[in-house]
Symmetry: C2
Subunit: 119 residues, 2 copies
């Protein structure tokens, strides 16, 4: 039981779209991830997802709107809702979601990360 510094964890890697696990509790995981550019449209059939922005701005695309999520803000994407995370400039985020959550949801492609590193 130690304190975990979020910025320090984010400084340990520089690649995009490759979430690292930085905490686990109650069957949920806290993940740190960086994104620049556009991810893919996908949905999670059984998991709600929380995206918290630590640095930069996340543009969360939904089929009917785009929500800008800025530093110090979060958004919850309910299960079953199609979304596409995007960021014009590099964004640093925490994800909070069940351990069962696959990053690409209902899609499996070259972005899919089956096994995540713990840091």
């Amino acid at each position: 039981m130690n304190s975990i510094n979020i910025a320090e964890k984010l400084s340990l890697f520089s690649d995009y779209l490759n979430p690292r696990i930085i905490g686990e509790l109650n069957g949920q995981q806290v993940k740190a991830v960086k994104l620049k550019g556009e991810f893919i449209w996908h949905q999670h059939d059984n998991e709600d997802e929380l995206f918290m922005v630590i640095k930069g701005t996340l543009s969360m695309h939904f089929r009917d709107k785009i929500v800008e999520v800025k530093e110090g803000e979060f958004i919850i994407v309910p299960r079953g809702v199609e979304h596409k995370p995007a960021a014009a400039e590099e964004v640093h985020m925490l994800l909070f979601e069940p351990a069962t959550t696959l990053n690409t949801g209902n899609v499996e492609n070259e972005f899919t990360k089956e096994i995540l590193q713990k840091i």
Copy 2:
């Protein structure tokens, strides 16, 4: 589905030890809370708890050590572990824990909040 500004939510109240619900997902809740002084020793038999510091410093007391959790850091307290949150100066935090979590855990006293406000 909108972005939620953490500092803005924290600006909506000023009382201590009275967590507000600011998000819900997967049977878990995100709560905003302020603390100054010492809370009570307690434990949660069935829930792990995450404390994230948004402003100030949290001193998390365990029976064998005290962990300082600073702004931009979090700590996970596993179920069954006795702890006492404390803060010499006002601290602003997010909690992430199951919706079933009672703030005073295994203790019921004047600090116990059975029903939390959603803001």
